[in-house]
Symmetry: C2
């Protein structure tokens, strides 16, 4: 059962190709024949790695979710190195996140979580549940940061931390959609920075530095 390295490479290649196709056409329209053609393997080879299309979906989402969580983790870790105060670290992290969004060549390819949720009837409970947990974890990360902030900084106004925690994921998923529909890659970082401005306005002491909401261009 010891997995070799070559098999893992093929799996990874297939998953990457499948993900691209799913984000562009949806899961049902993503044909196995097309995947194997691009991956340079045969149908039998595909079914050696995945027992059916459901398993492909499962592994694909698991891979995506893990990569996404790692990315966020890296950003917050880096932000913690750069700032001591929770609020400052959060603001730094959001800036790093915005920069990461801007660095995406050809725009963000799309959020698999969103894609799955708009095709939920196609997937089994395992996949749906994985999606739910992924979003919950994502929210929890931001929630923990905001909880830490309110412990040290009184908000200018009474504030619903849950709404604020959800808001960034909403903004990102919504911004990906706007970016794709309008073919404008700048939406993503702009919306992250808008959220950042909201946070800054809420928690910075009155009379502090002005919001960086003004657009560069």
């Amino acid at each position: 059962m010891a997995r070799g390295v070559k098999g893992a490479e093929t799996r990874e290649r297939v998953l990457e190709i499948a993900q691209g196709s799913v984000l562009a056409k949806g899961f049902a329209a993503t044909s196995i024949e097309e995947i194997i053609a691009e991956a340079g393997i045969t149908k039998s080879g595909f079914f050696y790695h995945f027992k059916d299309k459901n398993e492909l979906a499962h592994e694909m989402l698991a891979r995506y979710v893990e990569a996404d969580a790692r990315l966020l983790d890296d950003i917050f870790r880096r932000a913690d190195e750069l700032a001591d105060d929770p609020l400052q670290a959060f603001l730094v992290a959001l800036k790093l996140l915005a920069e990461a969004m801007d660095d995406l060549e050809g725009g963000h390819p799309g959020c698999l979580v969103a894609s799955v949720c708009y095709q939920e009837r196609l997937f089994d409970r395992k996949v749906i549940e994985m999606n739910r947990v992924a979003v919950a974890n994502m929210n929890a990360v931001f929630r923990a940061r905001l909880d830490a902030i309110v412990r040290l900084h009184a908000p200018r106004e009474p504030v619903d931390i849950e709404a604020l925690s959800e808001m960034i994921c909403c903004a990102i998923d919504g911004a990906i959609i706007q970016a794709k529909v309008r073919n404008d890659n700048s939406v993503l970082s702009r919306q992250v920075l808008a959220y950042r401005a909201f946070i800054k306005a809420l928690f910075s002491p009155v009379g502090a530095a002005s919001l960086p909401l003004q657009r560069a261009a």
Copy 2:
């Protein structure tokens, strides 16, 4: 060529069924056979109304976009009746929007614009372009409102009106995704109200009434 009323009813029924299926499974997985079974017509009947599946997609999106635009228009018209000042009218409209979101039985069924954008390779240019125009128009409506506001009210902080205009659509589309994934119908109105709080904080004079960000429950 005089279109009868019965034909229009059947078309409408088919489009409604198709939309539900597309939002739950995606376009490719939405089989014509399933639609006609639910609509109580035959395959021949379907192809009498739509020359192919592409035409179904086109009419479905057109219908959705029109309904959405009308809904927004109604809300703003009502808000204009209730308030004279652009800022107050905008805040009223957002509250009405949040209430409308809360009144949806069984949660929001999903945004067809988002669904289409996550399956763009399935549709022809006409459909893609319709999607683009729909989002652009939506943004323009909010943009016009915000422009009117800034003409009368100086924002507390320098502000990127474009980011702010996009933000509400991003929030809504993102909130629909979160609501679906987490099976929590409260996300939508909460995010609309969070956006409203942001607007209020930005444009209300310093020292004004506190934000209604605190959650009721």
